[in-house]
């Protein structure tokens, strides 16, 4: 109680809105869960950027530590310290240059087209991450933690795939139907969660985790059972290949992996941005996410918002599964098709602060990590696990904004929690507008 954080923590309750007796009238000790959610969503863009920077610095330390030349030169550090410094610099720069070359532009290539290949790879990896990130982020905004991305993707992939190989249809129609089937599959799998939460109060975190297992073993069963999803003539748990008419066409011809799924995801981002910021439904979503009590008192049906939100969230995550099925792994899928995207999506949504275009940018960054990680390993021998560690550190830093603020000496932001201007300085913004005129103008009101 006696350390210096106490005044900072206690200060906000008292300043101007209502000190005196009202210190207790401004309590925000409602559901803690929601204040955590608000923290996650409310962080500033600066925090996200700095979290990435900090994680990359930590990654650099790891790269240096694991580098063989660095280790060797450290052994005779006392004799020739310059060797160690040179080895460290070369290890770090080598690794990050390789990361850049593998994810953005490969300047070793003479031709421009070959040079931009890495960026298209990045976008290809980013496509499902953005789709699933949008789903998870939308749920965040409604105050829901959707960690059922894996299950929703698996079900979506199974539905899209089944339509993709079972029917003979003209190309665009077949593709559209397959996409729709997948999105609906994901939406249903997510909607179950919303329904259970609305009807029984089951916590969505538990339900989504459990449904991940249900989906995984259901799909594995279907893939193992001849006559269901298993490819004819094989004993392996793998599905038939999708027909060409249901495959997402390549955007820039066969030389590049980037396909139309990316365009679909851009459209999805535009849609989610409209939904959240401009639509009536999105307004209610945000109201429920920011303060479910006030939303309920204002006549918003909170339970049905949970159901709608999980339907849409599941559908968006399903789009990621569709993208894997019809764009990336068209030769038939196994139960590993989700490739961990359902979980990476949580990170992407956090890094993007649950804002649609923030998620879009975060998805591309993570796509770049994936694309560049391979080239880093191939050319520099840096273990790809370091990329995973960097990703994990980003989440860790985002989850601990005070750590970032302390590191970069940022001021504490304010106004995140209702009634608690978190920065003592904040009141300055409001008081001139409120307090002094209060005495003069109300005087007139009395007369």
């Amino acid at each position: 109680m006696s350390d210096t954080t106490t005044p900072v923590a206690a200060a906000p309750a008292t300043p101007p809105p209502a000190s005196g007796s009202a210190t207790g009238n401004e309590p925000d000790d409602g559901p803690r869960w929601h204040s955590v959610m608000r923290d996650i969503i409310g962080g500033s863009a600066m925090i996200s950027v700095l979290a990435v920077v900090l994680a990359l610095i930590a990654g650099a330390v790891l790269i240096a530590l694991t580098d063989e030349k660095v280790q060797a030169s450290a052994a005779y550090f006392a004799a020739r310290p310059g060797d160690l410094v040179a080895a460290v610099l070369s290890a770090i720069s080598g690794a990050y240059v390789a990361l850049f070359q593998g994810s953005v532009y490969d300047f070793r290539q003479s031709e421009f087209l070959a040079g931009i290949r890495p960026i298209t790879e990045t976008l290809t990896f980013a496509t499902p991450l953005i789709a699933a990130g949008l789903g998870v982020g939308l749920a965040f905004r409604v105050g829901l933690f959707n960690i059922g991305g894996r299950g929703q993707m698996l079900i979506a992939a199974a539905c899209a795939g089944w339509v993709g190989w079972s029917f003979q249809l003209p190309a665009p129609l077949h593709l559209v139907l397959a996409i729709l089937a997948g999105v609906v599959g994901g939406a249903v799998w997510g909607g179950i969660v919303g329904l259970l939460k609305a009807r029984t109060g089951a916590h969505e975190v538990i339900v989504t985790i459990m449904l991940n297992f249900v989906a995984l073993y259901l799909v594995m069963f279907l893939l193992r059972t001849p006559g269901l999803l298993q490819a004819p003539g094989t004993n392996n748990p793998i599905s038939p290949a999708v027909m060409p008419s249901a495959i997402l066409p390549k955007l820039f011809g066969p030389g590049f992996n980037l396909h139309w799924g990316f365009i679909v995801v851009i459209a999805a981002t535009v849609y989610v941005a409209y939904l959240l910021n401009r639509s009536s439904l999105g307004f209610k979503f945000r109201a429920v996410g920011a303060n479910p009590n006030a939303a309920r008192v204002a006549g918003i049906n909170v339970k049905s918002m949970y159901v709608y939100a999980m339907l849409i969230s599941g559908g968006l995550v399903g789009l990621a599964g569709v993208n894997q099925m019809l764009g990336t792994v068209t030769s038939g899928f196994s139960s590993g098709i989700d490739a961990g995207i359902g979980f990476d999506a949580i990170t992407v949504a956090l890094l993007g602060r649950s804002r649609p275009w923030g998620i879009f940018a975060a998805g591309i960054l993570f796509g770049a990590f994936k694309a560049g990680g391979f080239s880093m390993q191939a050319s520099q021998g840096v273990p790809i696990d370091i990329v995973v560690v960097v990703q994990a550190l980003i989440v860790l830093f985002i989850a601990a904004p005070p750590l970032i603020r302390a590191t970069f000496r940022l001021p504490t932001p304010g106004g995140l929690e209702p009634g608690k201007p978190a920065r003592p300085a904040k009141p300055a913004d409001t008081t001139p507008a409120t307090t002094p005129p209060a005495t003069t103008t109300t005087k007139e009101a009395v007369r």
């Binding site: 300043p15 809105p17 401009r278 939303a295 209702p418 904040k426």
Partner: protein, 532 residues
């Protein structure tokens, strides 16, 4: 603990002096060179409006804030408190407005919490704590069982446990922060007695409040602060009007100007309403009343006697409701909140931050919180943002919401301005009933006047109005009739001019004296003043 302090402890006399305390939050100066001297064994009232800086000053004294300037002296020795621990060790005790007690612990356990005496092997010495509680309790005639669980005790007794807690740590200056906010009038009177007893035993008391009556009753000296500055000292013989004008810096009319009500027909009828809360408790017990068009029915009572649940039941926010609720002959019972609002009910919830507003949303967004679905705020599911901003501009002008613009998040507004946003939203619909729960809780005097005027104007427009309030002043100022609730039931419905002593007794559950209950009115066939 120093030797001198021990000696002082025997004499039980300590002089507290605050010199030039200045505390700033950014550009806001919450305390501006405040001087305050509390002589040994006096009750010193710190009077001021909400937001005047009283609590900030006490938090500085208690070591929670560090002042930028000024010093704290105890018996003329400067003190430096790094935290509440230091302040407590120096002999300063605080009785918080919201008790710092653990409900599932016993009195003795709560009293020793933080200062646990242990015997060999870390075993708690509960007997010592019990003895201490018994000793202090006997000294002041508290009659507190050291082994009672806090959650089983009435609020007034819980407050005494807080006092015991402070005294058990040898507090010589006791700070009471708005101690009467949660008490019935009778409990308040008992607290006054206790404060005098404490004073006689040599304890100095700082009594923070904004209630004039209590100050005049118990204080030896009164310091009035406004906008962070000491604006004057007064003696308890000053009149209410003198003190009030010191507090707000201008002559205030404490009463609301309203004409005689001209009530119309029975509009809103509640019959035999009972509510069972999620824990299975019967929180509203067979309540019946009628509100006529164009009258204000105030529901008085100490916090927690079923008023909250009653308003929630009316709004469709309570799942288990028995009985009948009807508005203009149409039943509201069992309808969703949406349908109740659509039926023309305006509702100001008692906790505006938790239930009335979305803090992160802008003023404009909060103004359409209940109507984002259809025209004029949305068309084919798309929000009409240009309509919203013109609507919000107009409403914030009409309701005098002071802000930096309609895009300001409401969490940045003062309590009074937040309440105006709620009021603006609820009064913008076509109303057939208006329910306002604690409409002026924690807001400044200027806003209180504004809110009261609006409520009276709503009544004068011929709308039935229900005002739920725990403040007797507010109840008597606004009400045409008063229903008093106690333990979930209505004790009686009495005229608006009923003396406050009678209301106080009713709030403690006693029947009103014969003759004060309004007989079932001739034009109304509904029974009123039903007692379960």
């Amino acid at each position: 603990m120093s030797v001198e302090r021990c000696l002082k402890g025997w004499i039980g006399q300590m002089k507290l002096e605050l010199r030039g305390i200045t505390k700033r939050f950014g550009a806001l100066t919450a305390n501006d060179h405040i001087d305050l001297t509390v002589e040994p064994g006096e009750i010193h009232a710190l009077l001021g409006e909400n937001g005047a800086g009283k609590s900030t000053l006490m938090n500085v004294l208690y070591g929670l804030y560090r002042a930028e300037e000024g010093e704290i002296l105890l018996d003329d020795v400067a003190q430096h408190f790094a935290g509440p621990g230091d302040a407590m060790a120096a002999g300063i005790g605080m009785v918080h407005q919201h008790f710092m007690l653990i409900p599932v612990f016993t009195v003795a356990e709560n009293v020793m919490l933080g200062h646990e005496e242990t015997s060999f092997g870390g075993r708690l010495n509960l007997a010592a704590a019990r003895a201490k509680v018994a000793e202090i309790s006997a000294r002041f005639g508290f009659h507190i069982d050291p082994d009672a669980l806090i959650e089983d005790l009435p609020v007034g007794v819980q407050q005494r446990v807080e006092i015991i807690k402070a005294l058990s740590r040898d507090a010589e200056v006791l700070v009471f922060d708005e101690p009467t906010a949660v008490l019935t009038p009778q409990e308040t009177d008992e607290l006054m007695v206790i404060m005098r007893q404490l004073k006689e035993s040599g304890t100095s008391i700082v009594f923070i409040t904004h209630k004039l009556r209590e100050v005049r009753e118990v204080a030896d000296r009164i310091t009035v602060i406004r906008l962070g500055k000491v604006v004057g000292e007064a003696s308890p013989t000053a009149t209410n009007a003198e003190l009030a004008s010191l507090m707000v810096g201008r002559a205030v009319e404490l009463t609301v100007h309203k004409d005689e009500a001209s009530p119309g027909a029975d509009a809103f009828v509640v019959e035999g309403l009972s509510v069972i809360d999620p824990l299975g408790q019967l929180v509203v017990n067979n309540v019946s009343f009628t509100v006529r068009a164009g009258e204000i029915l105030a529901i008085a009572g100490v916090q927690g006697n079923g008023q909250t649940e009653l308003t929630e039941a009316i709004m469709g926010l309570q799942p288990q409701v028995r009985g009948e609720i009807s508005l203009d002959g149409r039943s509201l019972r069992g309808l969703s909140v949406r349908k109740v609002l659509d039926a023309g009910v305006g509702f100001v919830p008692e906790d505006r931050q938790e239930d009335g507003l979305v803090g992160d949303f802008t003023i404009a967004e909060n103004l359409m919180l209940d109507r984002s679905d259809g025209a004029p705020f949305a068309r084919v599911g798309t929000l009409q943002l240009s309509y919203l901003s013109s609507f919000a501009e107009q409403k914030s002008a009409e309701f005098d919401v002071r802000s930096q613009g309609i895009q300001t998040p409401v969490s940045r507004l003062s309590g009074g301005n937040q309440q105006k946003v709620v009021l603006a939203r609820e009064l913008s619909r076509d109303l057939r009933l208006f329910v306002a729960a604690q409409p002026t809780r924690g807001i400044d005097v200027g806003s209180i006047e504004f809110v009261h005027k609006r409520i009276v104007a709503t009544r004068d427009a011929g709308i039935p109005v229900i005002v739920v309030s725990t403040e007797l002043d507010e109840v008597t100022a606004l009400a045409d009739r008063i229903a008093v609730m106690y333990r979930g039931a209505i004790v009686g419905i009495v005229p608006g001019n009923t003396p406050r002593e009678v209301l106080g007794l009713m709030m403690a559950g006693e029947q009103p004296p014969a003759g004060t209950i309004i007989p079932p009115s001739a034009e109304s066939s509904h029974s009123e003043g039903v007692v379960a």
